[in-house]
Amino acid sequence: MAEIIKKATRESFGEALCELAVDNKDIVVLDADLAAATKTGVFGKAFPDRFFDCGIAEGNMIGVAAGMAAAGKIPVAASFAMFATGRAFEQIRNSVAYPGLNVKIAGSHAGISTGEDGATHQCIEDIGIMRTIPNMVVLNPADHWEMKEATKAAIAYDGPVYIRLGRLAIDSFNDPETYSFELGKGITLHEGNDVTVVATGLVVNEALKAVKELEAEGINARLINIHTIKPIDREIISKAARETGRIITVEEHNVVGGLAEAVCEVVTEECPVKVTKIGVQDRFGYSGPAWELLDKFELTQPHIARVIREVVAEGK
């Protein structure tokens, strides 16, 4: 069992950028006055000549990134998920995605685990917003090791990428010795044929703990980690639908527009099965400590385990 590293994915992201930028001189990083929070500040310290704080002006930041990409750079533009994908949606859509420019957009403090800042800062729509844009790759890594590899893959990929970062320090569950990231490929974390749990991002580890807990009760749930929401791994999802019947999706995002709907789009076309959606149930968040909120919104291990039990008891 690999050592557990407790770290927010935003920190892993900042580290990864610094490592990649040593050899890749084209990487430039832009932030909108949140560098200390998004962790691009680490990059700014290490590579001051390639770091540009654009001030509190997200729309312009995305446009500047587009222009730099058009001139051959690999710009990484970071802000909170809310402002990066919300405020600057149309700049991303028209100045980055339409011309297919090589810009990486990092949205930190995603989901309700942003915590005390409350609803205005708890972005639960970013995956949905980014997923609807043609040309856009959408990544939502689940732990330290996955974030580091996903960042490497995002930089290696030539085109627009949105990558979701979390504020909350979380335990790693992947083993760096065996872990491998392939863009667009889901990862089966636990085998089972009673039901399939498809999870993404910060709550993957909660789902993993839940399916392990249920082993003792004789419930064998398959768990798939979808780190790439778009392009989604159609094969792994349709295969699971065929082999296990029902699917449960788990995400720290609105159940509208996010992983749940992405999974439904696959199964409705390829193997219709009943899909149960664990996530933010189309409502706004509120202030509070992150773990208390995750519990209130029923996104933690006990809640996931309960839903799995209910679904298995109900049958196919």
């Binding site: 446009g63 500047v64 587009a66 051959g72 700049q91 028209n94 100045s95 011309p99």
Partner: protein, 286 residues
């Protein structure tokens, strides 16, 4: 600033600009849509940029050291397309299928599909930010290419223009020239009634720009402004170019209604005849 251009050079530019205007009229007529008014007001600026000012290579549109141009007011691309075609980037016949299904020339500039287009634009306020990014990249790479962008005067109502203006002066982008095509009209009426952008010179000055006010149809003034911009160090330049919307076609001049309406057959023929007469007159003088 004295720029030496003899009268025959100016005459050649005027002929090219008249041809660009014919291209804009031709394109919008065949498209049965598009934006002739602003295309005609900016035609002289586009002509000067591509035929006198910018280092570009039609045989190698992606040349790394080329000067960059971003048409932030993307809807005025018909005359830009005409200028690019006259410069040799693509065939004139493309204008006849402007905005048609499967055509290379889109309703708004598409950098991936059209040689010579450096940035996809169309959503107002965005191009100027991209131009800032290009100018910043040039600085970062120690390259001496310059970046030019043309905005509409209605466009400066967009907040992003001022985010970009702050950014440009903060980063001392003296390799960036922002040209505002001040034709005075926007879709809903005169800019002074709709948006209240004045005093625009004071605004750009307050944002840290060198400001130069010119007649945007006078090639000597355009030349002098762009020459002066090259001598400005440590800050970007804004050229406020007073123009006439619909310039060169009598019945389109200074008419709000010609912002986004295509000429019908009769109007197309009249506009073409007027522009051809102007070309004939200028060539006769040569």
């Amino acid at each position: 600033m004295v720029v030496t251009m003899d009268s025959s050079e100016i005459k050649q530019l005027k002929i090219l600009a008249a041809k660009a205007r014919m291209g804009a009229v031709l394109g919008t007529y065949h498209a049965k849509s598009g934006h002739p008014g602003g295309s005609l007001s900016a035609a002289d600026i586009f002509t000067y940029l591509y035929f006198k000012e910018m280092k570009v290579d039609p045989d190698n549109p992606q040349w790394e050291d080329r000067d960059r141009f971003v048409l932030s007011k993307g809807h005025c691309c018909p005359s830009l397309y005409a200028v690019l075609s006259l410069k040799g980037f693509f065939d004139w016949s493309e204008l006849e299928v402007l905005r048609h299904v499967g055509a290379m020339l889109q309703g708004h500039p598409d950098m991936k599909g059209t040689p010579g287009i450096d940035m996809s634009t169309g959503s107002l306020g965005q191009g100027v930010s991209a131009a800032c990014g290009m100018a910043l990249a040039a600085k970062l790479d120690n390259k001496d290419y310059r970046t030019y962008t043309v905005l509409g005067d209605g466009e400066v109502e967009e907040g992003q223009v001022w985010e970009a203006a702050m950014f440009a002066s903060h980063h001392k982008l003296d390799n960036l020239v922002v040209i505002v095509d001040q034709n005075g009209l926007q879709i809903d009426g005169p800019v002074e009634q709709v948006g209240g952008i004045e005093p625009l010179d004071k605004k750009f000055e307050a944002f840290g720009f060198e400001v130069i006010k010119i007649d945007g149809h006078d090639f000597e003034q355009i030349a002098a402004a762009l020459e002066k911009a090259k001598t400005v160090k440590g800050k970007p330049t804004a050229v406020l170019a007073k123009t006439v919307k619909g310039k060169g076609v009598s019945f389109m001049e200074d008419q709000v209604g010609w912002h986004g309406v295509a000429p019908n057959k009769e109007q197309y023929e009249q506009a073409t005849a007027e522009l051809q007469a102007e070309i004939d007159r200028l060539e006769g003088e040569c």
